[in-house]
Protein backbone atom coordinates (compact mmCIF):
# COMPACT_ATOMS: atom_id res chain seq x y z
CA UNK A 1 0.00 0.00 0.00
CA UNK A 2 1.34 3.42 -1.00
CA UNK A 3 0.12 6.88 -0.02
CA UNK A 4 -0.23 9.73 -2.52
CA UNK A 5 -1.00 13.40 -2.27
CA UNK A 6 -2.16 14.80 -5.62
CA UNK A 7 -3.35 18.06 -7.14
CA UNK A 8 -6.54 18.15 -9.15
CA UNK A 9 -7.22 18.30 -12.11
CA UNK A 10 -5.21 15.09 -12.60
CA UNK A 11 -3.00 14.01 -15.49
CA UNK A 12 -3.17 10.50 -16.92
CA UNK A 13 0.23 9.85 -15.34
CA UNK A 14 -1.07 10.84 -11.88
CA UNK A 15 -3.82 8.25 -12.20
CA UNK A 16 -1.91 5.41 -13.85
CA UNK A 17 0.53 5.25 -10.92
CA UNK A 18 -2.29 4.40 -8.49
CA UNK A 19 -2.91 0.76 -7.54
CA UNK A 20 -5.88 -0.82 -5.79
CA UNK A 21 -5.45 -0.46 -2.02
CA UNK A 22 -3.40 2.77 -2.19
CA UNK A 23 -4.50 5.76 -0.15
CA UNK A 24 -4.97 9.16 -1.81
CA UNK A 25 -5.56 12.70 -0.59
CA UNK A 26 -5.71 15.69 -2.92
CA UNK A 27 -6.05 19.48 -3.22
CA UNK A 28 -7.84 21.50 -5.85
CA UNK A 29 -10.87 21.04 -8.04
CA UNK A 30 -13.74 18.64 -7.27
CA UNK A 31 -17.12 18.37 -8.99
CA UNK A 32 -20.23 17.17 -7.17
CA UNK A 33 -22.74 15.15 -9.21
CA UNK A 34 -25.60 12.76 -8.54
CA UNK A 35 -28.38 10.77 -10.26
CA UNK A 36 -30.32 13.80 -11.52
CA UNK A 37 -27.22 15.64 -12.73
CA UNK A 38 -26.38 12.70 -14.93
CA UNK A 39 -29.94 12.08 -16.11
CA UNK A 40 -29.96 15.73 -17.19
CA UNK A 41 -26.63 15.30 -18.99
CA UNK A 42 -26.96 11.91 -20.60
CA UNK A 43 -30.69 11.21 -20.95
CA UNK A 44 -31.83 14.77 -21.64
CA UNK A 45 -28.78 15.81 -23.64
CA UNK A 46 -27.48 18.85 -21.78
CA UNK A 47 -23.79 19.64 -22.24
CA UNK A 48 -22.05 20.61 -18.98
CA UNK A 49 -21.30 24.36 -18.96
CA UNK A 50 -17.77 23.66 -17.69
CA UNK A 51 -15.01 21.23 -18.70
CA UNK A 52 -14.81 18.10 -16.52
CA UNK A 53 -11.56 16.95 -18.14
CA UNK A 54 -9.03 15.60 -15.64
CA UNK A 55 -11.33 16.34 -12.73
CA UNK A 56 -12.62 14.08 -9.98
CA UNK A 57 -16.41 13.81 -9.50
CA UNK A 58 -17.98 12.91 -6.18
CA UNK A 59 -21.45 11.37 -5.77
CA UNK A 60 -23.23 13.77 -3.44
CA UNK A 61 -26.42 15.74 -2.79
CA UNK A 62 -24.93 18.47 -0.61
CA UNK A 63 -26.80 20.38 2.08
CA UNK A 64 -26.07 24.06 1.27
CA UNK A 65 -27.57 27.45 2.01
CA UNK A 66 -27.43 30.65 -0.01
CA UNK A 67 -26.40 33.72 1.99
CA UNK A 68 -26.32 37.05 0.11
CA UNK A 69 -26.05 35.29 -3.24
CA UNK A 70 -23.18 33.06 -2.09
CA UNK A 71 -23.41 29.35 -1.39
CA UNK A 72 -22.33 28.11 2.02
CA UNK A 73 -21.94 24.51 3.10
CA UNK A 74 -24.04 22.89 5.81
CA UNK A 75 -23.18 19.22 5.37
CA UNK A 76 -21.65 17.43 2.41
CA UNK A 77 -21.73 13.64 2.46
CA UNK A 78 -21.35 10.88 -0.11
CA UNK A 79 -23.90 8.49 -1.50
CA UNK A 80 -23.75 4.97 -2.93
CA UNK A 81 -22.27 4.94 -6.44
CA UNK A 82 -23.52 1.65 -7.80
CA UNK A 83 -26.89 2.99 -8.95
CA UNK A 84 -25.03 5.54 -11.16
CA UNK A 85 -23.05 2.85 -12.99
CA UNK A 86 -25.01 3.45 -16.20
CA UNK A 87 -23.52 6.94 -16.66
CA UNK A 88 -20.00 6.36 -15.47
CA UNK A 89 -18.29 4.88 -18.57
CA UNK A 90 -19.34 7.97 -20.58
CA UNK A 91 -18.39 10.33 -17.81
CA UNK A 92 -14.89 8.89 -18.12
CA UNK A 93 -14.76 8.22 -21.89
CA UNK A 94 -16.61 11.22 -23.24
CA UNK A 95 -15.88 13.93 -20.67
CA UNK A 96 -12.41 12.87 -19.49
CA UNK A 97 -13.23 12.54 -15.79
CA UNK A 98 -10.19 10.94 -14.11
CA UNK A 99 -11.64 9.91 -10.76
CA UNK A 100 -15.06 9.00 -9.48
CA UNK A 101 -15.48 9.25 -5.72
CA UNK A 102 -18.22 7.53 -3.76
CA UNK A 103 -19.06 4.55 -1.64
CA UNK A 104 -19.89 0.99 -2.62
CA UNK A 105 -18.06 1.02 -5.96
CA UNK A 106 -18.99 0.74 -9.64
CA UNK A 107 -19.27 -2.24 -11.97
CA UNK A 108 -17.51 -3.91 -14.90
CA UNK A 109 -18.38 -1.30 -17.57
CA UNK A 110 -16.78 1.46 -15.56
CA UNK A 111 -13.74 -0.66 -14.76
CA UNK A 112 -13.16 -1.19 -18.49
CA UNK A 113 -13.50 2.55 -19.18
CA UNK A 114 -11.03 3.25 -16.37
CA UNK A 115 -8.51 0.89 -17.94
CA UNK A 116 -8.96 2.33 -21.40
CA UNK A 117 -8.92 6.04 -20.55
CA UNK A 118 -6.87 6.19 -17.34
CA UNK A 119 -9.29 6.78 -14.49
CA UNK A 120 -9.90 5.39 -10.98
CA UNK A 121 -12.66 4.89 -8.45
CA UNK A 122 -11.78 6.33 -5.06
CA UNK A 123 -13.74 5.02 -2.08
CA UNK A 124 -14.53 7.55 0.60
CA UNK A 125 -15.27 6.56 4.17
CA UNK A 126 -19.07 6.56 4.24
CA UNK A 127 -20.75 8.18 7.21
CA UNK A 128 -17.82 10.57 7.75
CA UNK A 129 -19.55 13.65 6.33
CA UNK A 130 -18.22 15.85 9.14
CA UNK A 131 -14.71 15.29 7.76
CA UNK A 132 -15.65 15.79 4.10
CA UNK A 133 -17.51 18.98 4.85
CA UNK A 134 -14.50 20.41 6.65
CA UNK A 135 -12.17 19.58 3.74
CA UNK A 136 -14.30 21.57 1.28
CA UNK A 137 -12.80 25.06 1.27
CA UNK A 138 -15.24 26.71 -1.10
CA UNK A 139 -18.29 26.14 -3.23
CA UNK A 140 -17.06 28.01 -6.28
CA UNK A 141 -20.06 27.48 -8.53
CA UNK A 142 -23.40 25.71 -8.70
CA UNK A 143 -24.32 24.97 -12.34
CA UNK A 144 -27.87 23.96 -13.26
CA UNK A 145 -29.13 25.42 -9.99
CA UNK A 146 -32.72 24.27 -10.65
CA UNK A 147 -31.52 20.70 -10.05
CA UNK A 148 -30.23 21.46 -6.52
CA UNK A 149 -29.51 19.35 -4.39
CA UNK A 150 -28.58 17.26 -7.43
CA UNK A 151 -27.07 20.03 -9.54
CA UNK A 152 -23.46 20.22 -10.80
CA UNK A 153 -21.20 21.67 -8.09
CA UNK A 154 -17.67 23.01 -8.40
CA UNK A 155 -15.89 22.67 -5.06
CA UNK A 156 -12.36 23.62 -4.06
CA UNK A 157 -10.92 21.15 -1.55
CA UNK A 158 -7.86 20.87 0.66
CA UNK A 159 -6.36 17.56 1.79
CA UNK A 160 -9.46 15.77 0.63
CA UNK A 161 -9.48 12.19 1.89
CA UNK A 162 -8.24 9.68 2.87
CA UNK A 163 -9.62 7.92 -0.18
CA UNK A 164 -8.92 4.28 -1.00
CA UNK A 165 -8.12 3.37 -4.60
CA UNK A 166 -10.85 0.74 -4.89
CA UNK A 167 -10.83 0.38 -8.71
CA UNK A 168 -7.62 1.19 -10.57
CA UNK A 169 -6.74 1.80 -14.22
CA UNK A 170 -5.09 -1.62 -14.51
CA UNK A 171 -8.25 -3.69 -14.15
CA UNK A 172 -8.23 -4.31 -10.39
CA UNK A 173 -11.39 -3.95 -8.34
CA UNK A 174 -10.86 -4.19 -4.60
CA UNK A 175 -14.57 -4.69 -3.81
CA UNK A 176 -14.68 -7.65 -6.17
CA UNK A 177 -11.45 -9.11 -4.77
CA UNK A 178 -12.69 -8.79 -1.19
CA UNK A 179 -16.03 -10.33 -2.13
CA UNK A 180 -14.41 -13.28 -3.93
CA UNK A 181 -12.10 -13.79 -0.95
CA UNK A 182 -15.10 -13.79 1.43
CA UNK A 183 -16.93 -16.33 -0.73
CA UNK A 184 -13.82 -18.51 -0.80
CA UNK A 185 -13.61 -18.40 2.99
CA UNK A 186 -17.32 -19.02 3.48
CA UNK A 187 -17.35 -22.86 3.31
CA UNK A 188 -14.73 -22.99 6.06
CA UNK A 189 -16.70 -20.53 8.17
CA UNK A 190 -19.91 -22.56 7.67
CA UNK A 191 -18.08 -25.64 8.81
CA UNK A 192 -16.83 -23.97 11.97
CA UNK A 193 -20.33 -22.67 12.71
CA UNK A 194 -21.72 -26.15 12.08
CA UNK A 195 -24.28 -24.94 9.55
Amino acid sequence: MATFHLNSPFSEEDIRQLRAGDIVTFDGLLFGIRDLTQIYMFDQGHEPPVSLAGAPCIHTAPSLRKVDGRWEKICVGTTTSTRMERFSPDLIGKYGVRAIIGKGGLLEGSLKAMQKHGAVYLAIVGGAAALETQQIEAIEEVYWEHLHPEALYRFRVKNFGPLTVAMDSHGRNLYEEVKVEALTRLPGIYEKLGV
Binding site: S63, C75, A123, V125, G127, L183, G188, G194
Partner: protein, 293 residues
Protein backbone atom coordinates in the same frame (compact mmCIF):
# COMPACT_ATOMS: atom_id res chain seq x y z
CA UNK B 1 -50.78 16.40 42.23
CA UNK B 2 -49.13 19.10 40.14
CA UNK B 3 -49.60 18.78 36.39
CA UNK B 4 -46.49 17.49 34.59
CA UNK B 5 -45.19 19.98 32.00
CA UNK B 6 -45.02 18.01 28.73
CA UNK B 7 -43.01 20.70 26.95
CA UNK B 8 -40.10 19.02 28.78
CA UNK B 9 -40.70 15.90 26.67
CA UNK B 10 -40.78 17.99 23.48
CA UNK B 11 -37.51 19.71 24.33
CA UNK B 12 -35.92 16.35 25.20
CA UNK B 13 -37.16 14.82 21.92
CA UNK B 14 -35.53 17.70 20.03
CA UNK B 15 -32.26 17.49 21.96
CA UNK B 16 -32.15 13.69 21.61
CA UNK B 17 -32.33 13.82 17.81
CA UNK B 18 -29.59 16.45 17.61
CA UNK B 19 -27.41 14.73 20.21
CA UNK B 20 -27.68 11.37 18.45
CA UNK B 21 -26.60 12.90 15.13
CA UNK B 22 -23.63 14.81 16.54
CA UNK B 23 -22.29 12.91 19.57
CA UNK B 24 -21.36 9.25 19.16
CA UNK B 25 -21.84 7.14 22.36
CA UNK B 26 -18.68 6.31 24.34
CA UNK B 27 -19.18 2.55 23.92
CA UNK B 28 -19.19 2.98 20.11
CA UNK B 29 -16.01 5.07 20.23
CA UNK B 30 -14.34 2.50 22.42
CA UNK B 31 -15.39 -0.37 20.15
CA UNK B 32 -14.02 1.49 17.12
CA UNK B 33 -10.74 2.13 18.93
CA UNK B 34 -10.40 -1.52 19.88
CA UNK B 35 -11.24 -2.51 16.32
CA UNK B 36 -8.59 -0.21 14.92
CA UNK B 37 -6.01 -1.59 17.35
CA UNK B 38 -6.54 -5.16 16.22
CA UNK B 39 -6.82 -4.31 12.51
CA UNK B 40 -3.74 -5.47 10.55
CA UNK B 41 -4.73 -4.33 7.06
CA UNK B 42 -3.00 -0.95 6.39
CA UNK B 43 -5.76 0.31 4.08
CA UNK B 44 -8.37 -0.53 6.73
CA UNK B 45 -6.30 1.31 9.34
CA UNK B 46 -6.50 4.47 7.21
CA UNK B 47 -10.27 4.02 6.99
CA UNK B 48 -10.50 3.95 10.81
CA UNK B 49 -8.33 7.09 10.96
CA UNK B 50 -10.90 8.95 8.85
CA UNK B 51 -13.72 7.78 11.14
CA UNK B 52 -11.99 9.19 14.21
CA UNK B 53 -11.33 12.48 12.44
CA UNK B 54 -15.03 12.78 11.57
CA UNK B 55 -15.98 12.04 15.20
CA UNK B 56 -13.52 14.69 16.44
CA UNK B 57 -14.80 17.35 14.05
CA UNK B 58 -18.41 16.61 15.01
CA UNK B 59 -17.41 16.95 18.71
CA UNK B 60 -15.56 20.22 18.20
CA UNK B 61 -17.95 21.92 15.84
CA UNK B 62 -21.22 20.36 17.01
CA UNK B 63 -22.00 19.18 13.50
CA UNK B 64 -23.50 16.02 12.05
CA UNK B 65 -21.19 13.03 11.82
CA UNK B 66 -23.06 11.61 8.82
CA UNK B 67 -25.24 13.53 6.36
CA UNK B 68 -28.01 10.92 6.51
CA UNK B 69 -30.22 12.17 9.33
CA UNK B 70 -32.20 8.95 9.08
CA UNK B 71 -35.69 8.13 10.27
CA UNK B 72 -36.23 9.11 13.92
CA UNK B 73 -37.03 6.27 16.34
CA UNK B 74 -37.97 6.82 19.99
CA UNK B 75 -38.20 3.96 22.47
CA UNK B 76 -40.06 5.10 25.55
CA UNK B 77 -40.02 3.20 28.83
CA UNK B 78 -42.39 4.42 31.51
CA UNK B 79 -41.90 3.53 35.14
CA UNK B 80 -44.81 2.61 37.41
CA UNK B 81 -44.04 5.63 39.57
CA UNK B 82 -44.39 8.11 36.68
CA UNK B 83 -47.90 9.54 36.19
CA UNK B 84 -48.32 9.92 32.46
CA UNK B 85 -50.48 10.98 29.55
CA UNK B 86 -49.59 8.78 26.57
CA UNK B 87 -51.14 11.03 23.96
CA UNK B 88 -49.23 14.03 25.26
CA UNK B 89 -45.95 12.08 25.12
CA UNK B 90 -46.62 10.94 21.56
CA UNK B 91 -47.50 14.43 20.32
CA UNK B 92 -44.47 15.98 22.02
CA UNK B 93 -42.07 13.45 20.51
CA UNK B 94 -43.50 14.27 17.10
CA UNK B 95 -43.13 18.00 17.69
CA UNK B 96 -39.62 17.64 19.13
CA UNK B 97 -38.33 15.68 16.12
CA UNK B 98 -39.79 18.31 13.81
CA UNK B 99 -38.27 21.17 15.78
CA UNK B 100 -34.85 19.51 15.78
CA UNK B 101 -35.00 19.35 11.98
CA UNK B 102 -36.11 22.95 11.50
CA UNK B 103 -34.21 24.64 14.28
CA UNK B 104 -30.76 22.97 14.03
CA UNK B 105 -31.40 22.93 10.97
CA UNK B 106 -30.61 19.66 9.19
CA UNK B 107 -32.08 17.92 6.16
CA UNK B 108 -35.21 15.84 6.66
CA UNK B 109 -34.70 12.33 5.33
CA UNK B 110 -38.40 11.46 5.65
CA UNK B 111 -40.78 11.47 2.71
CA UNK B 112 -44.26 10.37 1.57
CA UNK B 113 -43.91 6.77 0.35
CA UNK B 114 -45.84 7.29 -2.91
CA UNK B 115 -45.66 10.96 -3.88
CA UNK B 116 -42.06 11.13 -2.53
CA UNK B 117 -42.77 14.66 -1.31
CA UNK B 118 -40.49 15.55 1.60
CA UNK B 119 -42.05 18.24 3.82
CA UNK B 120 -38.62 18.84 5.48
CA UNK B 121 -39.95 18.03 8.96
CA UNK B 122 -38.64 14.46 9.56
CA UNK B 123 -42.15 13.56 10.70
CA UNK B 124 -45.44 12.49 9.14
CA UNK B 125 -47.98 9.71 9.48
CA UNK B 126 -46.13 6.87 11.25
CA UNK B 127 -43.05 9.00 11.94
CA UNK B 128 -41.30 9.29 14.27
CA UNK B 129 -41.40 5.58 15.01
CA UNK B 130 -42.44 5.34 18.68
CA UNK B 131 -42.39 2.28 20.92
CA UNK B 132 -43.87 2.25 24.40
CA UNK B 133 -42.75 -0.11 27.13
CA UNK B 134 -43.05 -0.16 30.90
CA UNK B 135 -40.88 -0.78 33.93
CA UNK B 136 -42.23 -1.77 37.33
CA UNK B 137 -39.40 -0.53 39.47
CA UNK B 138 -38.77 3.09 38.38
CA UNK B 139 -40.51 6.45 38.54
CA UNK B 140 -39.00 7.88 35.37
CA UNK B 141 -39.80 8.43 31.71
CA UNK B 142 -36.83 6.87 29.90
CA UNK B 143 -36.45 7.77 26.21
CA UNK B 144 -33.92 6.06 23.96
CA UNK B 145 -33.51 7.64 20.51
CA UNK B 146 -31.87 6.42 17.31
CA UNK B 147 -31.82 8.04 13.86
CA UNK B 148 -31.70 5.19 11.32
CA UNK B 149 -29.93 5.84 8.03
CA UNK B 150 -30.94 4.16 4.80
CA UNK B 151 -27.65 2.51 3.81
CA UNK B 152 -27.85 0.17 6.78
CA UNK B 153 -31.66 -0.05 7.10
CA UNK B 154 -31.93 -1.14 3.44
CA UNK B 155 -29.95 -4.25 4.33
CA UNK B 156 -32.68 -5.53 6.72
CA UNK B 157 -33.81 -9.09 6.05
CA UNK B 158 -36.37 -11.37 7.65
CA UNK B 159 -37.16 -15.04 7.16
CA UNK B 160 -39.76 -17.38 8.65
CA UNK B 161 -37.96 -20.70 9.03
CA UNK B 162 -39.56 -23.88 10.37
CA UNK B 163 -38.52 -25.63 13.58
CA UNK B 164 -37.07 -28.46 11.43
CA UNK B 165 -34.49 -26.02 10.02
CA UNK B 166 -33.03 -25.71 13.52
CA UNK B 167 -30.76 -23.06 14.98
CA UNK B 168 -28.20 -23.59 12.26
CA UNK B 169 -30.51 -22.12 9.61
CA UNK B 170 -30.69 -18.94 11.70
CA UNK B 171 -26.92 -18.67 11.97
CA UNK B 172 -26.42 -19.22 8.25
CA UNK B 173 -29.09 -16.64 7.45
CA UNK B 174 -27.37 -14.01 9.58
CA UNK B 175 -23.96 -14.70 8.07
CA UNK B 176 -25.24 -14.78 4.47
CA UNK B 177 -27.20 -11.56 4.97
CA UNK B 178 -24.11 -9.75 6.24
CA UNK B 179 -21.88 -11.09 3.46
CA UNK B 180 -24.42 -9.99 0.87
CA UNK B 181 -24.75 -6.48 2.28
CA UNK B 182 -21.08 -5.75 1.47
CA UNK B 183 -20.09 -2.09 1.74
CA UNK B 184 -23.67 -0.72 1.76
CA UNK B 185 -24.29 -0.40 5.51
CA UNK B 186 -20.96 1.44 6.12
CA UNK B 187 -19.35 -1.42 8.07
CA UNK B 188 -18.10 -2.21 10.65
CA UNK B 189 -21.29 -1.58 12.59
CA UNK B 190 -23.55 -3.56 14.87
CA UNK B 191 -25.44 -6.54 13.48
CA UNK B 192 -28.82 -6.69 15.21
CA UNK B 193 -30.55 -10.06 15.20
CA UNK B 194 -34.08 -10.95 16.29
CA UNK B 195 -35.07 -14.53 16.95
CA UNK B 196 -38.62 -15.66 17.70
CA UNK B 197 -41.91 -13.79 18.08
CA UNK B 198 -44.15 -12.96 15.12
CA UNK B 199 -43.15 -11.52 11.74
CA UNK B 200 -43.36 -7.95 13.00
CA UNK B 201 -41.97 -8.64 16.47
CA UNK B 202 -38.87 -10.42 15.13
CA UNK B 203 -37.76 -7.28 13.25
CA UNK B 204 -38.54 -5.14 16.30
CA UNK B 205 -36.25 -7.44 18.31
CA UNK B 206 -33.47 -6.90 15.75
CA UNK B 207 -34.01 -3.15 16.11
CA UNK B 208 -33.89 -3.43 19.92
CA UNK B 209 -30.62 -5.29 19.45
CA UNK B 210 -28.90 -2.52 17.47
CA UNK B 211 -29.95 0.02 20.11
CA UNK B 212 -28.05 -1.81 22.85
CA UNK B 213 -24.64 -0.45 23.92
CA UNK B 214 -21.91 -1.94 21.72
CA UNK B 215 -20.16 -4.81 23.42
CA UNK B 216 -23.07 -5.66 25.74
CA UNK B 217 -24.05 -9.30 25.88
CA UNK B 218 -27.47 -10.91 26.06
CA UNK B 219 -28.00 -12.13 29.67
CA UNK B 220 -28.97 -15.63 28.44
CA UNK B 221 -25.68 -17.58 28.21
CA UNK B 222 -26.84 -19.61 25.20
CA UNK B 223 -27.73 -16.43 23.29
CA UNK B 224 -24.51 -14.70 24.40
CA UNK B 225 -22.50 -17.64 23.07
CA UNK B 226 -24.29 -17.35 19.76
CA UNK B 227 -23.47 -13.62 19.63
CA UNK B 228 -19.79 -14.39 20.07
CA UNK B 229 -19.83 -17.19 17.56
CA UNK B 230 -21.50 -15.08 14.88
CA UNK B 231 -19.20 -12.14 15.56
CA UNK B 232 -16.20 -14.34 14.95
CA UNK B 233 -17.76 -15.81 11.80
CA UNK B 234 -18.57 -12.39 10.32
CA UNK B 235 -15.12 -11.04 11.05
CA UNK B 236 -13.56 -14.13 9.48
CA UNK B 237 -15.03 -13.14 6.09
CA UNK B 238 -12.38 -10.42 5.78
CA UNK B 239 -14.76 -7.88 4.23
CA UNK B 240 -13.41 -5.21 6.56
CA UNK B 241 -14.28 -1.55 7.15
CA UNK B 242 -16.30 -0.08 4.26
CA UNK B 243 -16.09 -3.49 2.54
CA UNK B 244 -12.54 -2.73 1.36
CA UNK B 245 -10.95 -5.67 3.15
CA UNK B 246 -9.69 -6.09 6.70
CA UNK B 247 -9.98 -8.00 9.94
CA UNK B 248 -12.93 -6.11 11.41
CA UNK B 249 -16.26 -6.45 9.61
CA UNK B 250 -18.50 -5.90 12.63
CA UNK B 251 -18.21 -4.17 16.00
CA UNK B 252 -20.55 -6.72 17.50
CA UNK B 253 -23.49 -9.03 17.01
CA UNK B 254 -26.43 -8.35 19.34
CA UNK B 255 -29.28 -10.85 19.58
CA UNK B 256 -32.69 -10.37 21.18
CA UNK B 257 -35.21 -13.19 21.51
CA UNK B 258 -38.90 -13.74 22.22
CA UNK B 259 -41.13 -16.79 22.53
CA UNK B 260 -42.59 -17.89 19.22
CA UNK B 261 -45.17 -20.28 17.78
CA UNK B 262 -44.47 -24.02 18.11
CA UNK B 263 -44.43 -24.33 14.31
CA UNK B 264 -42.33 -21.22 13.64
CA UNK B 265 -38.65 -20.29 13.70
CA UNK B 266 -38.38 -16.62 12.64
CA UNK B 267 -35.18 -14.63 12.30
CA UNK B 268 -34.48 -11.03 11.34
CA UNK B 269 -31.34 -8.98 10.73
CA UNK B 270 -31.18 -5.22 11.15
CA UNK B 271 -27.77 -3.70 10.51
CA UNK B 272 -26.39 -0.57 12.09
CA UNK B 273 -23.61 1.58 10.57
CA UNK B 274 -20.20 2.29 12.16
CA UNK B 275 -21.61 5.55 13.50
CA UNK B 276 -24.03 3.55 15.67
CA UNK B 277 -25.92 6.68 16.70
CA UNK B 278 -28.18 6.84 19.72
CA UNK B 279 -28.99 9.07 22.68
CA UNK B 280 -31.00 8.80 25.87
CA UNK B 281 -32.92 11.04 28.25
CA UNK B 282 -34.23 10.01 31.64
CA UNK B 283 -36.96 12.36 32.85
CA UNK B 284 -37.93 12.46 36.52
CA UNK B 285 -41.41 13.26 37.87
CA UNK B 286 -40.11 16.70 38.95
CA UNK B 287 -39.17 17.46 35.35
CA UNK B 288 -35.39 17.04 35.69
CA UNK B 289 -33.79 15.61 32.53
CA UNK B 290 -30.58 13.55 32.57
CA UNK B 291 -29.05 13.03 29.14
CA UNK B 292 -26.93 10.03 28.28
CA UNK B 293 -26.71 7.24 25.68
Amino acid sequence: MRQFDYSIVEEAAKQLYIRALCDLPPDVRQALRKAQARETNPTAKAVFEAMFKAIDIADREKTLICQDTGLPIYKVKIGSGFAWDGFAIKSRLHEGAKRATQEFPFRSSSTHPLTRVNPQTSVGPGLPVIYFDFAGDTDTLDILMAPKGSGSENMSRMQMFYPAHGIKALKKFVLDTVVESGANPCPPGVIGVGIGGTADLVMKLAKDAIMRPVGSRNPDPQVAAMEEELEEAINATGRGPMGLGGDVSTLGVHIETAYTHITQNPVAVNTQCWPARRSRAVISPDGAVAYGY
